[in-house]
């Protein structure tokens, strides 16, 4: 009964939110359902015993991997749903079930592909009893909110060991912390990774985290590295090493750029192979016309310009985004410290702005913590760059390459005014800023 009550009120709120144009109702309905029924997810899944559930977790790449899987399954005419707009806490997961179910809790779909927040995964596993789990990577991210990555992986390990139904586990073979989440009974485990032709670095980079053996704490040696601590590792002490993996993207041109997307693609492909029996070329064929998820290499045309958006919310993600920028690009960086972004902006000091300033013609910095970012980028230079503070315009200029404009609308108009119409504007925002940029450029309101 509690579940029906929860559903009724949640559905009612969804109706109100959408009817009055208040947003996409991606978290509120779930919040209300959970108020009436803490075990809402468990109860609604029990009413839909034939629904297959796939969970995707990891610091970076959740949204893209989920969208890749959903895209292929939809092309294969499966009825699939997922948590849109990246709402991946319990309230977001619940909202996605509410939006698909009728008032008796029945869901017409066959498969749910859900991305799950790192700290929510254990509870999601317990309540949703998934058929498959894809674990992508663990990087330092919002330490004030998530805590330490060793603690996260320990929680995941415990959640996996409590499982009593058979499941399929898809793991990144080249992230030591993820690759070590094995050896549980009832679990069929498959590994994905990139073949050595894509691993062009010899050593891990300064922002790397998992460079010590997750089993015996000795320092790992790396044969080659893709980025951060992602690479072929071995522990000289206990000999824990990169397990044998498949690279289902090997040699293929992918619809999305960047090494990190090669991993996302591979994670999706491995899931589709092991659970849905699709081979390498079938997966590729279905993904040729894939369109990126919102805010991930998304291009928006507005104000007579083209804006390229790449969510950049932690050091590893940001450093990967920098690698994608063409030479002499014109960039807009946005740093906020809202709750979804983390209150702690220390992470910007683990970003390679030294590389960014060499690749960019002009940098505009905006957001609530724009000045913090200005300080950081000024220190990326080998000589001191003069400051000019214009109090009337609320504009701080640092040399000829960098300008700080706190207000985002002003910053966007400034970038547009200094960019030729045929030139792309590259936007690297944190999460809340990505939503703001999209709203300013497209009018789309995501709550």
């Amino acid at each position: 009964m509690r579940t029906y009550l929860a559903l009724f009120w949640a559905k009612f709120v969804t109706f109100i939110v959408i009817f009055f144009g208040l947003g996409h109702a991606s978290t509120w309905p779930g919040e209300i359902a959970l108020y009436f029924d803490k075990q809402f997810l468990f109860h609604i899944v029990k009413k839909n015993p034939d629904l297959k559930i796939i969970l995707i977790a990891g610091t970076n790449g959740k949204t893209t991997t989920a969208k890749l899987i959903t895209h292929v399954l939809s092309e294969l005419k499966f009825k699939v749903f997922s948590n849109n707009y990246g709402a991946n806490l319990l309230n977001g997961l619940s909202s996605s079930f509410i939006s698909r179910s009728n008032l008796t809790g029945r869901i017409p779909d066959q498969i749910a592909v859900l991305e799950v927040d790192e700290n929510t995964l254990s509870e999601a596993i317990k309540q949703l009893r998934p058929q498959a789990i894809v674990l992508l990577n663990l990087f330092r991210d919002q330490l004030d909110r998530y805590g330490e990555i060793n603690v996260i992986s320990q929680n995941w390990r415990e959640a996996l060991s409590r499982l009593n139904q058979p499941i399929t586990l898809i793991l990144n073979a080249q992230d030591a912390q993820i690759a070590s989440l094995t050896s549980q009974k009832n679990i069929k485990t498959y590994f994905f990774g990139l073949s050595s032709q894509y691993l062009n670095k010899k050593t891990t980079s300064f922002e790397a985290d998992s460079i010590y053996c997750p089993r015996c704490l000795h320092k790992l040696t790396f044969q080659n590295v893709a980025y951060s601590h992602i690479g072929n590792f071995e522990c000289p002490e206990c000999h824990f090493r990169t397990p044998t993996f498949s690279d289902l993207a090997d040699g293929l041109n992918l619809p999305i750029d960047g090494l990190y997307n090669r991993y996302n693609y591979n994670a999706a492909a491995e899931l589709l192979r092991s659970v849905f029996n699709l081979n390498k070329s079938q997966v590729h064929k279905h993904l040729i016309n894939y369109n990126p998820a919102f805010g991930r290499q998304e291009i928006i045309h507005a104000l007579g310009h083209s804006f390229w958006l790449q969510l950049s919310k932690n050091p590893v993600g940001f450093n990967q985004a920098i690698e994608l920028l063409p030479e002499q690009s014109n960039v807009l960086l946005i740093l906020n410290d809202n709750l979804p972004d983390g209150k702690d902006v220390s992470w910007i000091w683990d970003v390679d702005y030294e590389a960014l300033i060499k690749k960019t013609k002009y940098i505009t910095v905006s957001g609530q913590r724009a000045k913090d970012l200005g300080i950081r980028i000024r220190y990326a230079h080998s000589s001191i760059i003069p400051l000019d503070i214009d109090l009337r315009q609320n504009l701080i200029t640092i040399g000829s390459q960098l300008v700080i404009i706190d207000n985002l609308t002003d910053a966007i108009h400034h970038v547009a005014s200094v960019t030729k119409t045929d030139e792309m504007i590259y936007v690297l925002p944190v999460y809340s800023a990505m939503l703001e940029v999209r709203q300013i450029l497209t009018g789309d309101n995501l709550e």
Partner: protein, 262 residues
């Protein structure tokens, strides 16, 4: 003392104790010297490095880390205890120890399960972790510096720690908390200043918005390197000042920070 014109900065355990952007402190210290025409050498000291490297230092820095990393560092650090004590207490070397490193320099750390982990005993202080149920001290922190010559300066950063640190009456806090928690969330103290060694909970990194504190460390490093007092030419730090003012305006003075999630 030596006549070498290169300033040697020793960075302890960069591969293990450098989470939360603490590496920014090294960037800031280095650039503030390079911008003024000095030569700088940063030496990374990690597991198994010889103590000779540490002996050449004009300034020492060590950042914070996750628990597992601290466990790895703990054994190696003990081999450097005597030398570090000599450098800090007798040579009065400028040092900066952040968060986990700060705790390491104290007498002991009482863990959540009641285990007493001995520190290096260089700072006369101890740290207690009240356990998983007590809330972590997380949030933006502003504190007024208490070092001669820097009295009106405000240092700013971000703290995120479970342990509560208490100084003995022989030690002086480096700053008085304006907003945030500081050492323990109880006595309004933040960090420690012991000879010329600083311990602090502030990430951010601490020196990003506290450039005067960076210059204080650097002037002592120059003194150590050249054997005489050397004036540092002023740098334009108006951006740091404006950033701090803006953030302080957002957070009412004297109010505990409740922004952090536990």
């Amino acid at each position: 003392m030596n006549n070498d014109t290169t300033i040697n900065i020793a960075w302890l355990y960069p591969d293990l104790m450098s989470t939360y952007g603490d590496r920014g402190n090294i960037i800031i210290l280095t650039k503030r010297l390079v911008w003024r025409g000095f030569k700088v050498k940063v030496t990374e000291i990690s597991l198994g490095s010889t103590n000779n490297l540490l002996q050449k230092a004009d300034l020492i820095f060590m950042g914070g880390a996750q628990d597992q990393q601290q466990e790895i560092v703990s054994k190696d650090l003990r081999k450097r205890q005597t030398l570090l004590k000599e450098l800090i207490d007798h040579q009065r070397l400028p040092c900066l120890f952040i968060c986990g490193a700060y705790q390491f320099m104290g007498n002991y750390y009482l863990s959540a399960n009641g285990q007493e982990i001995p520190g290096l005993g260089i700072f006369d202080l101890y740290t207690i972790n009240p356990g998983q149920k007590a809330k972590r001290l997380i949030g933006n922190t502003f504190a007024r510096i208490n070092i001669p010559g820097l009295q009106n300066e405000i240092m700013a950063g971000f703290e995120n720690h479970g342990g509560r640190t208490f100084l003995s009456n022989k030690e002086t806090a480096i700053a008085k908390v304006i907003t945030g928690y500081g050492n323990n969330g109880q006595d309004n103290t933040e960090g420690v200043i012991h000879q010329r060694a600083i311990g602090s909970y502030l990430h951010g990194p601490i020196l990003a918005k506290s450039p005067k504190l960076a210059d204080w460390l650097l002037s002592h490093a120059l003194h150590h390197s050249f054997g005489e007092k050397i004036e540092l030419s002023p740098l334009d730090d108006r951006l740091e000042e404006r950033t701090k003012q803006q953030l302080l305006g957002q957070i009412p003075t004297g109010q505990k920070n409740t922004d952090g999630l536990d």
